[in-house]
């Protein structure tokens, strides 16, 4: 396939998905026609329909923040995943590998259990702290090798998971259920407040990763190779880990732990567009965002009740990934 076709698809497909998602909803909700009519009446000043209040509440208060949040979370996780895969030169790495998800889950659990701490802030801080710990532990001498970093990530993850279990043990059954629900990943409580809290952080992380996207190419060739052309691999890696952690922590704090996106979307983008991060990084953000919006559309329309979105990311992402795997080669020399 011509490269420009692939690029057009990857960069062009998010926008119609986002727009059309506004019209998607559960079966017992308003019809797409009603939403369209309401939007038309808003834009052209036409007289509002009888159920304008309801439509407005659904489209503006419920759907729009949810779509935006899904887009940013998906984008942040995918971009983060791409960054980490470049930094670690490892295809099996996802944004949660340095203890980020366990730290966030623990932070959220503590906040939910005590009641007076903000859940979002707590999850975010502990996510960042966990990654910081992994990094500090992973320093063997002066250098931080990928293996030592991943190992310390596993240890830090384990510690936070154990602490999480203690919190769950001490919490009462209702709060315990809330904690469990939180960790399963959910977008159904998306509201404008949450969007405004989390999007700037994800945006900062995203922008940081965007600026560093070519430097990832340099790092991706190897530590010695990077050193040879004047790039200090360790400093560069920290510089890249910071925006990646920022974006992923904000995403996890906002929407819980959603799997698959951070691991698989970078592969998908690489298979379609090649390994050059100058194109790949923005593509990951857009494609990851659109991917999660699409998956969330499924979860909203298919069932009458809310299921954890992680189920759908696997059910939708899995087959698509397999299709890509058969069509193109894996963008990785294994």
């Amino acid at each position: 396939m011509f490269p420009w076709i692939k690029r057009a698809v990857v960069f062009g497909f998010p926008w119609p998905i986002v727009v059309l998602s506004v019209f998607v909803g559960p079966q017992d909700s308003i019809a797409p026609k009603e939403a369209l009519e309401w939007m038309a009446s808003m834009m052209m000043g036409a007289p509002a329909a009888e159920n304008a209040d309801l439509v407005r509440a659904i489209v503006w208060d419920i759907r729009l923040p949810r779509i935006l949040l899904a887009f940013c979370v998906g984008g942040a996780l995918a971009a983060s995943g791409a960054t980490l895969q470049a930094v670690f030169r490892n295809p099996l790495v996802c944004p949660y590998i340095l203890g980020l998800s366990s730290g966030a889950a623990f932070g959220a659990a503590v906040a939910l259990a005590v009641g007076f701490l903000p859940v979002y802030g707590s999850a975010f801080l502990f996510a960042m702290a966990a990654v910081g710990c992994s990094y500090a532990l992973g320093r063997v001498g002066k250098a931080v090798t990928p293996v030592s970093l991943v190992l310390s990530g596993i240890i830090v993850s384990g510690i936070f998971t154990a602490l999480l279990t203690i919190v769950q043990f001490l919490a009462d059954p209702f709060r315990l259920q809330t904690i469990v629900h939180w960790t399963m990943g959910n977008l159904h409580n998306a509201e404008w407040k949450r969007v405004l809290d989390s999007v700037p952080l994800m945006g900062c992380g995203g922008v940081g990763m965007f600026f560093l996207r070519w430097r990832m190419n340099v790092l991706a060739l190897g530590d010695q190779e990077a050193y040879a052309v004047g790039v200090d691999p360790e400093r560069e890696k920290i510089t890249m880990l910071i925006p990646a952690t920022l974006a992923a922590s904000a995403a996890v704090a906002a929407a819980g732990i959603i799997g698959m996106v951070g691991l698989v979307v970078p592969h998908m983008v690489r298979m379609m567009l090649g390994p050059d991060n100058r194109v790949g990084m923005p593509a990951c953000f857009l494609f990851g965002g659109a991917f999660l919006v699409l998956v969330d559309d499924f979860s909203r329309a298919l069932t009458a009740f809310e299921l954890p979105i992680g189920i759908f990311t696997t059910l939708v992402g899995g087959p698509f990934f397999i299709f890509l795997l058969r069509r193109f080669r894996l963008g990785w020399a294994v």
Binding site: R89, F211, L212, W214, R215, N217, V218, A220, L221, G222, Q224, E225, A226, Y227, A228, V229, G230, V231, D232, R270, G274, P275, D276, R278, G331, W332, A333
Partner: protein, 273 residues
């Protein structure tokens, strides 16, 4: 006049690389002892030695990957270890060994990473021009869009050399740059180095094949027993008695035109395998 390192510091005669009293031991074993030599600018200097003679160690010391226990290395009069990474990269370029490609970057993208010390965050037109130039110099321009991982070993090596060229350093250090190249291409590369590169950069190559060295190099040093020896000035390097010391075998010289090739002689008289 000499500077505080003992290096030639007179204007116009400044050494590109000046090594004084270098000593390096690895795990208690002395690998290099009392090594001193000067590399003249805009010349093709070749360090000749056998595998295991400390060639790679010397190379890594010259490049700053290892720190010597004793001694000084100066690049154009500046102490190597005092330079920032960026400064060092602009002065010194080297080919890393054992490259393991993981991502199928295009050749062009691989060479472009060589501009990291110049480009900042995103490469600009001048960086892409440098890449073009480097590819053309080595004659691999047609490979520009091909994935690096699909090339042969020799082609990959040329790409990595192009990467170092794109970096535009003042001194180029090459450790066995012809290891994956076939017979003709090895000579072609060495000829290119001597004829076009030395016009504006200093090249130091470490080779184990003396004939490749003698046919294309301009200055020579021999590495043996942890020491660096300079052949007597005025004599052809292939006539040096040092050759036997370096290779542990008496050498036969076969002259042709302006040059000669050396061939190992009687192995029964060899000092060691």
């Amino acid at each position: 006049m000499k500077d505080r390192h003992g290096c030639d510091a007179s204007a116009g005669n400044e050494a590109a690389l000046c090594v004084r009293n270098l000593r390096f031991a690895y795990g208690g074993v002395e690998v290099l002892r009392h090594v001193s030599f000067d590399i003249k600018p805009q010349r093709f200097t070749v360090l000749v030695g056998r595998n295991g003679s400390g060639k790679s160690t010397l190379f890594r010391l010259l490049v700053g990957l290892l720190k010597p226990q004793e001694g000084r290395i100066a690049v154009f009069g500046r102490d190597l270890h005092r330079l920032s990474l960026r400064e060092r990269t602009r002065l010194l370029g080297f080919l890393p060994q054992h490259h393991h490609p993981v991502f199928p970057f295009s050749v062009e993208d691989v060479v472009l990473t060589g501009r990291a010390a110049h480009a900042g965050l995103v490469p600009k037109a001048q960086d892409r021009a440098a890449v073009r130039e480097a590819l053309e110099q080595l004659g691999i321009e047609p490979l520009a869009s091909k994935p690096y991982t699909e090339l042969s070993g020799g082609e990959q090596q040329l790409v990595l050399i192009a990467r170092v060229l794109a970096q535009k350093p003042k001194v180029l250090l090459l450790d066995e740059p012809t290891s994956h190249l076939d017979f003709v291409n090895a000579h072609r590369l060495m000829a290119l180095v001597r004829d076009s590169l030395c016009a504006h950069m200093t090249v130091v190559a470490i080779l184990h094949d003396p004939n490749l060295a003698f046919q294309h190099g301009t200055d020579f040093f021999f590495l043996a027993d942890g020491h660096v020896f300079q052949p007597d000035s005025g004599r052809d390097p292939w006539n040096s008695a040092l050759l036997e010391r370096v290779y542990g075998v008496p050498m036969e010289t076969i002259s042709f035109g302006n040059g000669a090739v050396v061939v190992p002689g009687d192995f029964s008289k060899s000092a060691r395998p």
